[in-house]
Amino acid sequence: MLLNNYLISAWRNIFKHKLFSAINIFGLAIGLAACILIALFVRDELSYDKFWSKADQIYRTHITFSVPGRDPMDMVMTPGPVIHALLKDFPQVEHASRLASQEPTIIINNHYFVDDISLVDEDFINIFDLEAVEGDLNTALKSLNNIVLTEKLAKKYFGSNNAIGKIITIDFDSYKRDYKVAAVIKDMAKNSQVITDALVAIDEPAWKEKDWMFDAWFSVNSHMFFTLKKGADIKSINNSWSEFIDRNFPKLPFGGTGAKTSDFVHMTSMSIKDLHLKAKGDGEYHEIGDMNTVIIFSTVAFLILIIAAINFMNLSTARASSRAKEVSLRKVLGASRKDLIIQFLGESILITAIGMIMAIVFVEFALPIYNEILGKTLRINYASADLIYVAALAIFVGLLGGSYPAFILSHFRPSETLKANKSAESDASIKLRSILVIVQFAVSITLFVSTAVVYGQMLYAKNMNLGYDKENILAVKEVYRDVVLKKLPLLVDEIRRMPNAISVTWSNFMPESGNNNNTLVRTEKQALEDASLIGSREIGFDYFKTYKVPLISGREYSIERGDREVLTDDLRKGLNYTGSIIVNESALRRLGLGTADNAIGKLVFISKGNPSENLEATYEIIGVVPDIHFDSLKSTIRPEIYDLSVNYGSVISARFSGSPVAFTEQVRKLWEQEIPSIPFNYDFISAAVAKQYNAEQGQAAMFAAFSCLAILVACLGLYGLASYTAERRTKEIGIRKVMGASVFDVVKLLIWQFSKPVLIANLIAWPISYFTMTLWLESFVYRIEDFFILGFCLLAAFTALIIAWSTVAGNSMRVARANPIKALRYE
């Protein structure tokens, strides 16, 4: 019954102080909603690959190539032959499998598809627990002619018909084969770095023609997973990679006689549970996360919670004085301190409970947009423990925010508080309140500055001059397939003839996609051991014209001038002729070839084929281009050569004028007519480059949104506090007005009262923001200047003051205008 009484009185109190309750509940709801959203994100990020039954035993190997004078190349892939050496050298390894993701052409009943097919070793099913829906998974991969499909693909290919035993023809370019569906498995979980739609066993001999896939020590094209035997320590393997490398890898042709391969090649293995957040390097098949992001967002969530709790505390203690009479009367009537504490905590928890329900409604409304930004499918699972977590969060905040006020309120002595004309509040609690307001604003300002820096950096990167013109270029993909390559000259010719085509070219890379091909290059004066490893890209005729890159000196490849590439097969046959080559400025510097003008006509020697073959081709430099940002801005521009490749490319790039849609449709028509077996796949270079920043942009937007919420919650609290303060100070303001203060004097006074904490908060927030954001910026090679942070700090201070003023101004004006006799009359 007593509980009932508490509830009723709590409920009435909430209604009696509508503004106070509304601010408290709304602020809490926003704070809790933000927390829940972030928690869902963080939980998902932390859950990656933890669900495998052998999660504790599964590792993936990574490799780093450290070439002298170059940024190390971190790869999350592993050279193909490593798996055989691993199984031979390390008895502690239980199972091992490679996984290479390919996009072959798939033919079923004369229908063509392009889908991800994973090439794996037979042991794959012993590492990852896949769930068979139909067929026998255990024997499926023992045959090189079987395929395992996920339910998703089985449905796509065969509808609702039983897929088992059906035939799928796959054209891997190196070989074409009929596969029989031997098993259908459940679709794989999304929170994993190991998602595949279909599995076939690796048939190494069938890939002989493309030996770099599975049989080259210095080429990486697949992931490698292994499980450790129970009781074995991963350190025993991770500590012996150097010896492993020297024992198994061929010797590299540089570094002199004393050099070992392990001087340039490093390997390590990482637990599968860490891959999503901690793996660093090129070659992921699925987007990875970032531990920093998780930490940053968890911190933001925590800060928002703190701000919301502070609001709660501040408003409750501020209101305490006006409740002093109620408390005293209850005490006089026999309530113990415990009773009062229970009553006030009950009120807090009731308020948080209402806030929590509102928060869940907010979350449900926000989730669709949130998921779209993050590319996830997060949700609150009401059937699980989620609700308990949310409730626990609310109770935690309720207790955090409510316990201090409860303590303060219950502490009032009737003898003191019933005496009129005495402020019931102690100086300490007023002081604490201003400290808490300072904390709130310091946090808000720090978040503001951080958001501005993150956004500024993103915009800077997005708008940085890349060195080429990315607008109005259509990129036609899928060109690397044999069927397309056969028609490459024809396609280029036909597109070039289209009225809106300005210039057409081809290359073996997309500007944004990252390219780690390297080759040894030396000048006439240099010995083979002194050759430099230089990045190499293959391009067709008119490449720089199409991408609008002005050459510094010389010219680019043209059919008319008879430029030619040196074919590796010709070298093998002993044919000797000089090819043409274009280099960038960094390569000139690396090779010591002097100025761009002097370099024209000089000869360089470029290694070809496998290192063991010792093949070198002679090239004459015909052009020098500036350093161009073809890769992500997170890496420095490397020295590069641009090799002519007349017959090979993976992308055709066409600069056009007029409507992009019309031009694309024209090209599509041509493609469908010439290459009916492969779906037309295209992109615009500008869009592809922008895509690089999608994840960052999403996170920046998320960060900005949560910072705004934090600031909003802090402002709500300030508003509540301001209206309370104005009320509390009416008598004082009345006196001041009688003493001659004008409306303006009074507004100034009140605004200054709230500006002081904001200014102090700035002094705290600036150094913190400056320090953390310069640290954050360090991970970018090309970044905004540090003084921008100072600019953002000033902007934040200005904004915070404006916000604080406009929050407080309304109340101040009202109080300042009021007739003083009203305030002085009723005592």
């Binding site: 004082e732 001041r736 009688v738 001659g740 007739n819 003083p820 006799i821 002085l824």
Partner: protein, 227 residues
């Protein structure tokens, strides 16, 4: 000093009209000491507030130094008020968060007076009312009589020519009341015009003239002959 002519003040609340002052005609000379008496609710405070320009009349004229201020706006009144009028209240109305000295300084704060001069004048007036040794204390640490002395100091520190006091002794015991009355008398002797509302006939005796109000009307005005 001031002249009220056919002055009326009516309060309108929820259809009910309360006429607090009805056709009041009063003249007060410079240097006078006037007491206003009457039963509770007869309009004494209302009258004092209008004289003090904290409130405006509903109709009639209010000549302050030959200037009709009846129709003046709040800010216009504020300018005249802060120059000429000081206030003393029954409940002292000191600001709890400020010290004694700061409370007194408040009356100079809005007058464009340099800080050094303010300090000097505050010190002088504190000396005069005998609370100099309490300068750093908070109002809550003072007795009622001491608080009212601070209020008197605050009312005179600006050298205002007229002091309005609304039951200045209402919250004080006899001895302390006496003290405050003597202080007012001394100020009056130095030339300050004083208008005081009081319920105590003996305190009204300090004044040279008593105005009796009843239901918003002036009923009698009696002069006390100088002894």
């Amino acid at each position: 000093m001031l002249k009220l002519q056919d002055l009326t003040k009516a309060y309108r609340t929820d259809e009910v009209e309360t006429v607090a002052l009805n056709n009041v005609n009063i003249e007060i000379e410079t240097g006078e000491f006037v007491a206003i008496m009457g039963p509770s609710g007869c309009g004494k405070s209302t009258l004092l507030n209008i004289i003090g320009m904290l409130d405006t009349p509903s109709s009639g004229h209010y000549f302050f130094k030959d200037e009709d201020v009846a129709g003046y706006s709040e800010s216009q009144l504020g300018v005249i008020r802060k120059q000429h009028i000081g206030f003393i209240f029954q409940s002292f109305n000191l600001i709890d968060e400020l010290t004694v000295a700061e409370n007194i300084e408040l009356a100079l704060l809005y007058h464009d007076i340099p800080a050094a001069e303010r300090k000097e004048r505050v010190a002088a007036v504190m000396d005069k009312v005998g609370i100099a040794h309490r300068a750093k204390h908070m109002p809550s640490q003072l007795s009622g009589g001491q608080q009212q002395r601070v209020a008197v100091a605050r009312a005179v520190v600006g050298n205002q020519s007229m002091i309005l006091a609304d039951e200045p002794t209402g919250n004080l015991d006899t001895a302390h009341g006496q003290e405050v009355m003597e202080m007012l008398q001394k100020l009056n002797e130095e030339g300050t015009t004083i208008v005081m509302v009081t319920h105590s006939p003996s305190h009204a005796d300090y004044a040279r003239r008593t105005i009796n109000l009843l239901d918003g009307h002036v009923v009698t005005e009696s002069m006390r002959s100088k002894i």
